[in-house]
Amino acid sequence: MLDTTTIPLAVLLFPGGLFALAFGLALKGLDRRVAARLQGRVGPPLAQPFFDLVKLARKRTMVPDIAAEPVFLGTPLIGAVSMLLAAALVPIPGVYAPNPLLGDLLVLLYLLAVPAVVLMIAGSASGSPFGAIGFSREMALMLAYEGPLVLVVAAVALRVGSFSLSDIVAYQQTHGAFLFDPVMWPALLAFLAFYPANLGIVPFDIPEAETEVLEGPLLEYSGPALGLFKMMSALKAVVVLGLGVALFLPLAPDGPAGLAVHLAKLVVLMLVGVTLLRVSMGRMRIDQAFAFFLKWPLALSVLSLAIVALA
């Protein structure tokens, strides 16, 4: 394993920073293209998310008169930076292990909560009633999915005996991936329900639902500030999917082949867990999504923690 990457390089260039951003945008482009094909449309070019970002960067950010300007402009920045840091915390098995100085799984969990919090604050700072509805929905949804996530992570950490992602990866490389371990299946299922909600796609795109609250918190955003939110969302896809790979299937050869395998896994997770899911159903109402998370993923994650503790 290469362990020589310095922290600034990891955050700004690889595996976080530019690399994660480019790959995240490519994943989004692929998602849009494949979804379009599944719906019988041609779809945008694969590079459309890049074009969108360039376009937004060249525009002006309008700040509504009633918005709290420092908060309104500060939140997208905080969100994007938090995801840049998080991207450097996710290991790429066989290629990159995060420096322990940067933080471990617990830090990653906190960073993962930042985008949702940032969107909530941005929504209320924008002064728009749709932003306010987005705020309350985002909060309800976050309360619903954060619990199962923490329990899933706790189950994995308990099994391995460490909160370090490097240890979790190393453990599975010697003992076999958790994907093939029936004891870990409840945790896996709970995670599979968590990540579409965290990535904010149908059926869980409730806080931003276009036909209901007109993109909610993002309604008033434009120009580079909106671009930062798009960056945050692209980076989050890489982080969340990368976390899934690290928790459940971190088996990969060393060197460039390992990187290719890792990226392939992310593409599969994106297409199966995001694209297929969002083209095959409609949106839930917030109370339905909340009830769903309290019923299934929470129960599964509690069960998983219990059986790991007993095993």
């Binding site: 599944l38 009633p129 149908v202 209901e212 159903m281 409609g282 839930m284």
Partner: protein, 361 residues
Amino acid sequence: MSNFTIPVGPLHVALEEPMYFRIDVHGETVNNVTITAGHVHRGVEYLITKRNVFQNVVLTERICSLCSNSHPQAYSMAIEQIAGIRIPARAEYLRAIADEIKRVASHLFNVGVLAHLVGFESLFMHVMEVRERMQDVKESIFGNRMDIGANTIGGVRYDIDPERIGYLREQLAALVPEVDEIIEIYRTDSSILRRTRGIGVLSYDDAIDCGVVGPVARAAGIEYDVRVKAPYAAYDRLDVPVHVLKDGDVWSRAMIRLMEARTAIDLIHQCLDGLPDGPTVAMDERPAIPPGEAIAKCEAPRGELIYYVRMTDSPKPERVKWRVPSFLNWDALGIMLRQAKVSDIAIIVNSIDPCISCTER
């Protein structure tokens, strides 16, 4: 939970036309709805008195795009009544065919938009793709995809030869399994059911009080269809089943529309089977329209459409007034939206299939 006011419209991504609802919400629940109209007033009622009766066939067609066959049809029926014109039997069948083709396209459009509003984009795309077949039919038979120009005073402006009948039957045969599949999806898909069952309920009593018409009334258990109660065109010779459901929710209204779209296909087949020979217009020359007044009504896709026309000695009508189905159904929105969730507002509004350009003209 805080109280605030949100504007829905006049320009809103979820609404197809400009309408404005001021909604007072408490958290996610609607407390009070103020409906404001008047954003697309074009003065058509005034304009219609400035043109002669024949020019007005073209004008009435442009009142609304989705009911663009029902308006000129009801208008022509009223004028024919004043002039005492009896249209040929073939024209009566051709009017019914045009009516039903427009009905299929209109109902599928509304049901498709419902899928879009619940965030089920794939289903929306699929329904619109199926509807595209009806658009092709309209283009092939009438020459236009929306304003089909089928009606004229004294008959119809189009005729179908055996080749076009063959084409029409072929397209309808291909449409039947597709519509059946869509009905099955709306009946069973959990994404659709969980967002539409028990939402925007209009009880039988409320429906009677509001005087709602069309699919909105039939979904609330009122068995009323102009095609059966007061047959026009060829409908007295056709077997028109009236679909009725009891629940009065968004899902029932969507199902009524789907079943009517399916029935419309059968009705077109019946028309083609019974299509008599003969002329398509009653007279070769444009008749003089005597003074008088008349009321005519027909079943537009959204419900009962009533036309009142008064003629004097002038070739221009002195007054034309029409009452559109959306005007009645619109009022019932106040009841349907009571205590609704913010997420369901657009779904409920769409469920009455509001036609603002008809209503505000």
